[in-house]
Symmetry: C2
Subunit: 252 residues, 2 copies
Amino acid sequence: MKEKASSYFLQLREQIISAFSELDQPFTRKPWPYKEIGGGEIGLLRGHHFEKAAVNFSKIGGKSFPMDDGQGAFFATGISLITHMRNPHAPTVHMNLRYLETETVAWFGGGYDLTPMGKYYEEDKIHFHQIAKESLDAIDPSLYPKFSEQAKNYFFIPHREKERGVGGIFFDHFPDFSVVQAVGASFLKAILPIIERRIHTPYTDEDRKEQAKFRAHYVEFNLLYDRGTKFGFQSGGNPEAILCSMPPTASW
Amino acid sequence: MKEKASSYFLQLREQIISAFSELDQPFTRKPWPYKEIGGGEIGLLRGHHFEKAAVNFSKIGGKSFPMDDGQGAFFATGISLITHMRNPHAPTVHMNLRYLETETVAWFGGGYDLTPMGKYYEEDKIHFHQIAKESLDAIDPSLYPKFSEQAKNYFFIPHREKERGVGGIFFDHFPDFSVVQAVGASFLKAILPIIERRIHTPYTDEDRKEQAKFRAHYVEFNLLYDRGTKFGFQSGGNPEAILCSMPPTASW
């Protein structure tokens, strides 16, 4: 499964990079080696519509799994992406799909979720969830209710007593590759129509200031609570790749 | 000691607020209640030279100490301050002094440290450390070497493999109130001359951009590593007061 999963993540990543580039400009790429086995590649776009987008791939191995849900030697591969749009009407999207193998257990995890940055459109939330739901219902109608509930719980900012954004889907310790493929295949359908209809909306300096305040909440979630960030630092991952998710601006 | 320490922190706080206000404008004040006993007051200045400064006081009590260096019912009082200067030539300063009492043990902790935000002046670092050293040497010449070493170790950003700034002094689990008073009394002498000689230096948009990048590292330290932030959230402290230390702008 190691090779199957990592080739899938790699081709999905290239497909997403192509789609985003078409709306803006090419990504710059920066490979990095992991301290033990393998490494990854940052794909970074600092463009016009995408004020900052990162679509990263990694495939690493090591002697000692650093988290408490596995033990011993491990293998981890995944795609991890984020978009911080310049236009405050366009929400931030985050997506991550990963495969982990340890000596005791192997699993998939990931999902995608949407975060408006000051401007909220009900129709965007509905569309985003609708695509997620359709992609999962095709496999098993019990998945979407579960995964969207898990996103609600996971992407929660306790000290602000609010969800990070408007949710999406999230799963972890899941055995089924076909679900990962369904989620991956649906991602661009979920986000592209939203990006396309928001990036030309006029906005003001005040809107940008408000956006920077919402981005600050995103920073708080990622540094205080996110397991991906924690795994990244605890496994000695590349700090630049881990911090790619940080917004281009934030204000407190 | 509870009342003695908290009155000292309160008067020191008012003295610092006066000194900063004289260079800029008055602070706004916002009291907050703690969920169990007591509370605190945010003192916030969003001014011309002080783009954002917070000089906070708190005095709280509760049934169950949330950290691992004490047990049972606790009392905590302290002053906590930060300045984020608009001028990138002027460094950020952070100061915290606290008294903690638990059922098993009571102690003082705190210190102050300096963080240039892109522009570095050796003379500022020397002056800052010199004042800290003099204030401690008057009590015991073995303290400064120890406390400055502890600051070096504590204010370190592992994933960036660098110190947060140019150090200062830091101590914890310390029994001696006179040391806290010496540190408190020296604070304005340590920082005011630096602020006064930097806030009129001309700067460019590029300098401001660089400042925002350095401020981002400050955010990373505070949210990923700082024990004060951790204690604040784990004890159910006021999120607004805890996050006062966040810079007005940051960029990644």
